[in-house]
């Protein structure tokens, strides 16, 4: 059954924060390839760069937060409100999309930055079937940053606003965290749709530890939460131990800080910052590395990048209790570490010393990603869920709906700021 699916997301490639947005784009594009009629409603982005955007991707929404080239602390409370609670223009754009595209189902992804709460309220109001893919703790961001009386305008004092949605979560870890920090438990249930990797563009792996040198790679946002500091510090320990190695770090973020740090620790020849690469290029690049470094923070819901590396025969070294760890077995598909410089350095040294059977671990990783965590399997699950969620609905013929959205938006601003 061909569906009309409206994807709603804060960012869309080429501008992304991480795996959450890439996952959305991959799913949207794949659904289109499978014959569904897809429209994506996303932001125009804040980077003055020409992009090749297909006509079915509508860059209409304004982005009030997570602006890639601006640090968050420079933004004011009002922007935060627009980001997590209500942005009238964005809500109107969603109303336009619902009116004109008439989707069978709306697939909502990361709504932080575009006034997601008001948008979810609108989806409930018009009665369109909708799903919410949780790749991060969007409900916690809303509960923590929007006062209770303001949330009440959108029927979100508790978890009511999510009750009509079919919920997907990238990990049980994430659901547990959302419940612990916001008391929202999704009584309708939530499907765990773990991350995946699309290996269609990957290359065969090159020989491991060529010329006795260990080549490590990392790919993520550059910052403390992703463990960039740990990588640089562990590299210093390896260097002082006389290990022959290199670390290439892909991604964007607070690069100058870590370039300085690497210089200070005399690691310029060991640690390189190489900027960001498109997803498929990144997968091809993994074939030349021996292990993937992912000392991310414990509450990282589900870093996707280690899966891509594992699927390309490049075993990940990753934080023991991050979301992705739910899917990988220590010593079989990956090396799990405590999130400390010492434990990371120890694991890197083990790899460099040849004490880990990287080829065997790489093959196991590849099998896992091709099997349980394959992109096709994920798509089958999502497609089935979209079909199950879709049901006849009629767009309300209510010329006063924009006025109701206007009142709610202004009330939210007034209650929040006086």
């Amino acid at each position: 059954m061909a569906l009309r699916i409206l994807f709603l997301t804060n960012l869309y490639p080429p501008f992304v924060i991480g795996g959450y947005e890439i996952a959305c784009a991959q799913t949207a594009e794949a659904m289109r390839s499978r014959g569904h009629e897809v429209q994506v409603l996303t932001t125009w982005s804040h980077v003055p760069q020409e992009t090749k955007t297909p006509e079915w991707v509508r860059r209409r929404l304004d982005l009030h937060w997570y602006v890639p080239h601006m640090p968050n602390q420079t933004l004011e409370a009002r922007d935060l409100h627009s980001a997590v609670c209500s942005s009238y223009s964005n809500t109107l754009h969603l109303l336009d999309a619902l009116t004109n595209f008439r989707p069978d189902v709306v697939s909502a992804w990361n709504l932080t930055g575009i006034g997601g709460l008001a948008m979810m309220d609108l989806l409930n109001h018009v009665g369109v079937p909708w799903t919410l893919y949780l790749g991060d703790r969007v409900p916690v961001d809303i509960a923590a940053n929007v006062p209770a009386d303001v949330r009440g305008i959108f029927n979100a004092r508790g978890g009511e606003v999510y009750e009509q949605a079919r919920i997907f979560s990238v990990s049980q870890n994430l659901l547990d965290e959302i419940e612990a920090e916001s008391s929202i438990s999704f009584p309708q249930g939530a499907d765990i749709v773990a991350g995946w990797a699309d290996l269609s563009q990957s290359l065969p792996h090159q020989p491991y530890l060529q010329n006795g040198k260990a080549r490590f790679v990392a790919a993520s946002s550059i910052g403390p939460h992703k463990g960039t500091e740990l990588i640089v510090e562990a590299s210093a320990q390896l260097q002082s131990s006389g290990v022959d190695f290199s670390v290439d770090i892909f991604g964007e973020g607070d690069v100058p800080r870590y370039v300085d740090m690497a210089k200070r620790l005399r690691l310029e020849e060991r640690v390189r910052f190489l900027g960001s690469l498109p997803y498929t290029d990144l997968l091809r690049a993994y074939s030349a590395y021996d292990a993937f470094l992912c000392p991310t923070w414990e509450r990282d819901p589900f870093p996707f990048a280690p899966l891509g590396a594992a699927g390309c025969y490049t075993p990940p070294i990753l934080t023991r209790n991050c979301g992705t760890s739910e899917r990988l077995v220590d010593g079989v598909h990956c090396i799990k570490i405590e999130r400390t410089t010492e434990d990371l350095a120890r694991a890197m040294a083990e790899v460099a010393a040849g004490r880990v059977d990287l080829a065997k671990m790489g093959r196991a990783g590849r099998r896992l990603i091709e099997g349980d965590l394959s992109f096709e399997r994920h798509l089958d699950k999502m497609e089935r869920a979209f079909e199950e969620s879709a049901r006849p609905w009629e767009m309300l013929d209510d010329p006063k709906l924009p006025l109701l959205l206007f009142l709610k938006h202004n009330l939210s601003v007034r209650l929040r700021f006086g």
Partner: protein
């Protein structure tokens, strides 16, 4: 439209008539309006209000549900409860009282989201910019105004169905005592909250030595109350600051003429917006068979359609002249009390208002369904 089953009506008000909440005409109006609908078959009602704690009690057989205030903004008309999302499920129509306040705007957004027909009434609690210039008022399916004056204030913002219902008054409760009117000769009565815009100072200032004045009401403005006490020195003026309904009825029945002197510009020089949307105490007094003197502020002149039972004044000199006629026995005429009561029963009584209210509710529900 439902035929056999009853329509479920919810009244929303930011406060309820009680010393625990607020004792004002707006709050009493909600009680009266609900009572008037009780006179008509086919409706089931509940009153929802906001307070410091949850409460549930019955008043005249109507459940009053007080929801805990969740607002981060102080002030009675800023009170709100997000629990309305759940509490209002299943109602056929919601009547939002004090609709031009933050409470009203918040409640309107929820009721409209629930797709329940909504009717609004301005009881003078505010001029919410989001409801007026922001056009939130257009989200209402109907508007009931408590006077022509009140309707004129919002008429330019709302073009939908509306009605003007002045009252109601419980004419079975506010009844004249069986006594000779002459027994109360010279007894002037003023009943209102003691606030500058009520213009009580004007009554004291115009009061001749031959007349006695009783002022019934709670002081809500200490400096103004102290000013009145000072002005009353040397005159026959009595303050009754606490009077329950029975005591008030007794006072009505021991008076000869009722005065309501609200003003658009108070004694301190402040201009008052919406000085009097409806003089409920004036109607109560008329129901007790009292002739009335009202100022020309707001809606008050609408209440006195016959100068035999009602006089209107604009200035101090006007009021002095009317008081002189009262003192001289030139006004009111003997039949004034009966005329006043008869007028109130036929136009502003519980039954008269209830029938019209029921009709408006039914039409609104039917229109929304269509």
């Amino acid at each position: 439209m439902k035929s056999a089953e009853k329509f479920r009506i919810a009244h929303l008000s930011p406060a309820y008539f009680s010393p625990d909440s607020y004792v004002g005409g707006g709050e009493r109006y909600v009680d009266y309006l609900a009572q008037s609908l009780q006179m008509v078959a086919g409706f089931e009602q509940a009153i929802f209000s906001i307070g410091p704690d949850d409460q549930l009690f019955l008043r005249n057989g109507i459940p009053v549900r007080v929801l805990k205030n969740e607002s981060s903004h102080p002030g009675m008309t800023n009170a709100l409860s997000t629990r309305l999302w759940r509490e209002l499920e299943g109602f056929d129509l919601v009547h939002i009282h004090q609709c031009l306040t933050l409470f009203g705007a918040f409640s309107t957004s929820i009721v409209r989201s629930l797709k329940i027909p909504a009717i609004g009434t301005d009881l003078g609690g505010g001029e919410d910019p989001q409801m007026l210039r922001g056009r939130g008022i257009e989200l209402l399916d109907g508007l009931i105004s408590i006077s022509k004056y009140a309707h004129n204030l919002v008429g330019s913002h709302f073009k939908g169905p509306h009605d003007i219902l002045i009252g109601p008054v419980d004419t079975d409760r506010f009844v004249p005592a069986s006594r000779e009117p002459s027994a109360n000769a010279g007894q002037i009565l003023c009943v209102s909250r003691i606030l500058p815009h009520k213009g009580i100072d004007r009554v004291i200032a115009a009061l001749p030595a031959s007349l006695s004045l009783t002022i019934v009401g709670r002081p809500y403005h200490q400096a103004y109350y102290e000013l009145l006490v000072k002005m009353a020195e040397g005159k026959k003026v009595r303050f009754v600051l606490e009077a329950d309904d029975d005591a008030l009825l007794d006072i009505y029945n021991k008076s000869a003429v009722f005065v309501q002197a609200s003003t658009a510009r108070d004694i301190y020089g402040n201009n008052i917006a919406k000085p009097e949307l409806m003089g409920l105490t004036t109607l109560e007094a008329m129901s007790c068979g009292l002739p009335v003197i009202v100022s020309d502020a707001g809606s008050l002149p609408e209440l006195v359609t016959d100068d035999r039972f009602g006089q209107v004044f604009s200035s101090h000199d006007d009021l002095v002249a009317i008081f002189e006629k009262v003192a001289a026995g030139a006004w009111p005429p003997p039949e004034a009390g009966e005329l006043a009561r008869s007028h109130v029963i036929s136009h502003h009584g519980l039954n008269a208002i209830g029938v019209r209210l029921a009709d408006f509710y039914r039409r609104t529900i039917a229109s929304k369904k269509n």
